[in-house]
């Protein structure tokens, strides 16, 4: 169809733009046979985010537009969506920078997941895999009176994994997930990496059985989509690679862990 809205517009005009054309995938399974794209014109300033734009549509134009949101500063993980073909948190995504030269941004739900309504997806498989890796630490039974001693270097090795906000951007960019939901997935493998690498954890071997097993690290095709998709700049692929290597030397790793835990209550060097 001829695009009347963008006809004759130059990049300079885009920069001076006061409005954006927000194309949103709509789908309410109770009413619609299949998803469709709806376009809204939204006012903007240089600081407007994609979430602001969605919020504007919901408030002013169509209250039935449905999406998840909460913290609006990229820590709660609610608002991961697909913007112009790649996954991102819409709350920290600048709107003007997301427009093409015709002033359009396209927002769809995270791929490869069932759509509940509009931009809200069903993350059931995502959370099941998260639970499957036993995300909790299993510490030694004889806890000290004070803290276990963990060195700054040991913290640095797992620090970034701890900052994962479980938004699902990686999971729904993963080609292996696209093919089947029995793969544990990058988010849960990153969590497993966090626990396996933690000197306080007592069951790294059991963890490697799961995360280094057939539904785990070996299923990763190292396509690196998860790295590109992560809005927190984390590296699940590297963590998966580490799990794969550790699984190969599982017995030795368990022995190293047992050895390390003998000094877990002593001052680090």
């Amino acid at each position: 169809m001829f695009d009347f809205l963008s006809f004759g517009k130059t990049p300079e005009m885009i920069k001076k733009r006061k409005t954006a054309f927000v194309r949103v995938q709509r789908f309410n399974p109770d009413e619609d046979e299949k998803p469709y794209i709806q376009e809204f014109e939204v006012p903007m300033t240089p600081e407007t985010t994609v979430l602001d734009a969605l919020q504007y549509v919901k408030t002013e134009l169509d209250g039935s537009l449905t999406f998840r949101k909460s913290c609006r500063h990229a820590i709660c993980g609610s608002c991961a969506m697909n913007v112009n073909g790649s996954n991102d948190l819409v709350c920290h995504r600048n709107l003007p920078e997301s427009l093409d030269k015709t002033g359009v941004v396209t927002i769809k739900p995270l791929p490869y997941l069932p759509v509940i309504k509009d931009l809200v997806v069903d993350r059931t498989s995502f959370w099941e895999q998260y639970k499957r890796v036993k995300p909790w630490l299993v510490p030694p039974e004889d806890a000290p009176e004070k803290e276990f001693r963990v060195s700054p270097e040991e913290v640095a090795a797992i620090n970034s994994a701890e900052t994962c906000i479980m938004c699902g951007a990686c999971y729904s960019s993963c080609q292996v997930i696209a093919m089947g939901k029995d793969y544990i997935g990058p988010h849960a493998l990153l969590k497993s990496f966090l626990r396996v690498m933690d000197p306080r954890d007592t069951i790294p071997g059991e963890r490697l059985d799961i995360s280094g097993g057939e539904d785990g690290a070996y299923r990763c095709h190292t396509i690196f989509n998860c790295i590109d998709a992560c809005p927190k700049n984390l590296n699940p692929t590297e963590a998966i690679e580490t799990l794969r290597k550790l699984a190969q030397r599982r017995i030795a790793f368990e022995e190293e862990r047992a050895e390390r835990q003998k000094t877990l209550t002593e001052a680090a060097d």
Partner: protein, 602 residues
């Protein structure tokens, strides 16, 4: 069992730190029939947005001798004298509260603090460490020792994930994206809740022997706020409507460093690590207001200082409503190591890298000191005389124990939510073990709430719910903000009354049942309008300045008349429709020998 009826021994509403701690502890202790409701996925809870740290007098670090109050810190060597104590933490908290905090509750909190931080550590929390492997500690405002245990500047995130994981370990059942609409109260006994499964729109009568609220704060009543969209004070409003009093609602903390215009939190850790506040003349103006503590004075004082600079024309940015937070002298490495999230936020939302340039900030509504009054074990109080609401517990920001009094110290909120969430968990276990009953429910509470929803959905007026909310929020920010006075508070009250009337003509655009967030917003705005009136009524009545409640027409603290908690009851149905909340007052727990009220200077 009736249609759409669910029963549990314990129902917990809210899955932030307080609710999850209560659930995890109860499950660990063997009370297994627990249901935790959260209107958003538990890991999206706003506890996870807390940045700077959790307070505990571990004595792991101390100032290097001779370097002054803002110099570098070092590890406390083994065998050296402790640099901190619970007594010091207690005094700092009492002084921070401007003596409105209950001292018995504060004592419990600061004594439990070290134990709970170690428990977090034993459960897997990835704290930042000292070189010898202990939990690292930094300075924070109003604390006289480096007491903030931290994980870079995402401490709340790490704590929330840790305790949620442990709750899963003990098989706690979570109802994710279930919205609690109502409390079932009969004859003063709490018998359960009515909740909506957001996915389907179905309502359920959920009966329980004990109900715990950990529903969070009410900072979304303000236009400039650090709070998440979710922080609409639902629990507070639901309790109020069910006849439970609300305590000290007029006390709202304005955090000094919200990102300019966005309100998003720039952690106090920025100043804890040594950051400066500058006015338009490049002056570190805190020198005028708190020469000793400077930028590390408590938040109420710093926010007032900023607002004074702004009001007197020394603000920055186009409209003069900003202040600069300058971190440049901390250096790139320290910013990347200690404040990575804060840096990301500044770059993303205002396009400023704190390594290279000062960040524009302004005071932002941040923390709700008031809430549902409770005992030290989370039991909800029915009145100022200490009667209890059987079967109803509350903890965390929605509750008011009160440990924060008129002003909370930074890092004491993660502590409050954790300590009293845990204590409530144990209290609920005792309550169940001592033979708590599943009380019968008369009528059909779910059907009554369905009628309320149908009424909201059928309204076809021309008022827009969000427009009403926006007007309310600006009224609150402008008239019930950092500085208040009788005239402006009265104006706010009239506007709220007017908005409540207009709300009756507000239209919900989405009429469907599936994942209807438009309907949820409508209910949330209803809640905002209800408790905002309570906040303003309490503020009008309190003719003094204390902590975060600062009145320009009553500038002094007035211990003779106002050393007491406000208790606000919803007016009885037979009272005049326009009658505001019924206010009564409750004494403050004070150890007159040890911690009598003093003048509060920093």
């Amino acid at each position: 069992m009736a249609h759409n009826e669910i029963t549990h021994d314990v129902i917990i509403v809210g899955a932030g730190l307080a609710g999850t701690w209560a659930a995890m502890v109860a499950a660990r202790e063997g009370v297994s029939d627990i249901g935790v409701l959260s209107k958003i996925h538990p890991l999206r809870s706003h506890s996870g947005a807390a940045q700077g740290g959790i307070a505990a007098s571990l004595s792991n670090t101390r100032p290097v001798a001779g370097t002054g109050p803002r110099g570098p810190l070092e590890e406390v060597p083994p065998g050296a004298e402790a640099s901190d104590s619970w007594e010091l933490h207690m005094f700092d908290t009492i002084k921070g509260s401007d003596w409105l905090g209950d001292q018995d509750a504060i004592e419990v909190m600061v004594k439990d603090a070290t134990e709970i931080v170690y428990e977090y550590e034993h459960m897997g929390c990835v704290f930042s460490r000292t070189d010898d492997g202990r939990i690292n500690q930094r300075r924070f405002g109003g604390h006289s020792a480096p007491r903030a245990c931290f994980a870079a500047d995402w401490t709340g995130h790490v704590l929330l994930h840790t305790v949620h994981e442990q709750a899963l370990r003990y098989d706690v059942k979570f109802y994710s994206e279930w919205y609690c609409m109502d409390l079932i109260m009969e004859e003063g006994i709490c018998r359960g809740v009515v909740a909506m499964d957001v996915l389907t729109g179905e309502l359920y009568t959920m009966r329980a022997k004990a109900v715990v609220f950990g529903t969070g704060g009410y900072g979304r009543a303000f236009a400039i706020t650090s709070n998440a969209f979710a922080n609409t004070g639902d629990g507070v409003a639901i309790a109020y409507n069910a006849g439970v009093p609300l305590m000290d609602m007029e006390f709202v903390q304005f955090h000094p460093t919200g990102l300019y215009r966005h309100g998003i939190l720039m952690s106090e850790a920025c100043r804890g690590e040594g950051g400066y506040l500058l006015n338009s003349q490049g002056d570190r103006f805190m020198n005028t207001y708190a020469p000793e503590k400077m930028e590390l004075a408590p938040r109420d004082l710093v926010s007032r200082s900023e607002q004074t600079e702004i009001n007197e024309g020394r603000g920055v940015m186009g409209d003069g409503q900003g202040i600069y937070l300058d971190l440049r002298h901390l250096g790139r490495d320290k910013i990347l190591e200690r404040l990575p999230q804060v840096r990301e936020i500044a770059i993303n939302f205002v396009g400023v890298d704190p390594i290279d340039a000062p960040v524009p900030i302004q005071p932002t509504a941040h923390y709700s000191m008031g809430g549902i009054p409770t005992t030290l074990d989370g039991q909800v109080l029915a009145d100022a005389d200490g009667a209890l609401v059987e079967g109803f517990f509350a903890a965390g920001e929605c509750a008011c124990v009160s440990v924060h009094g008129a002003n909370r110290l930074g890092t004491n909120s993660l502590l409050d939510a954790s300590v009293f969430g845990r204590r409530t968990g144990y209290a609920v276990v005792d309550f169940i073990r001592n033979g708590a009953q599943l009380h019968p429910v008369s009528g059909d509470p779910a059907a009554e709430n369905r009628a309320r929803i149908n009424d909201l959905l059928s309204r076809d007026g021309d008022e827009n719910v969000e427009h009403i909310a926006q007007e309310l929020k600006w009224t609150m920010t402008n008239n019930c903000g950092v500085f208040r006075d009788g005239e402006r508070l009265q104006l706010a009250l009239e506007e709220i009354k007017d908005l409540q009337k207009r709300f009756r003509h507000a239209r919900t655009m989405d009429k469907g049942s599936r994942f209807n967030t438009d309907l949820l917003t409508t209910i949330e705005v209803d809640h905002l309008l209800q408790f905002s009136e309570v906040m303003v009524a309490g503020a009008i009545a309190r003719t003094e300045s204390r902590g975060a409640h600062s009145r320009t027409d009553f500038v002094k603290r007035d211990d003779e008349n106002w050393l007491k908690h406000t208790m606000a009851h919803k007016p009885m149905v037979y009272e005049d429709e326009d009658a505001g909340p019924r206010l009564s007052y409750k004494g403050v727990d004070i150890d007159w020998e040890k911690y009598p009220p003093q003048e509060r200077t920093y």
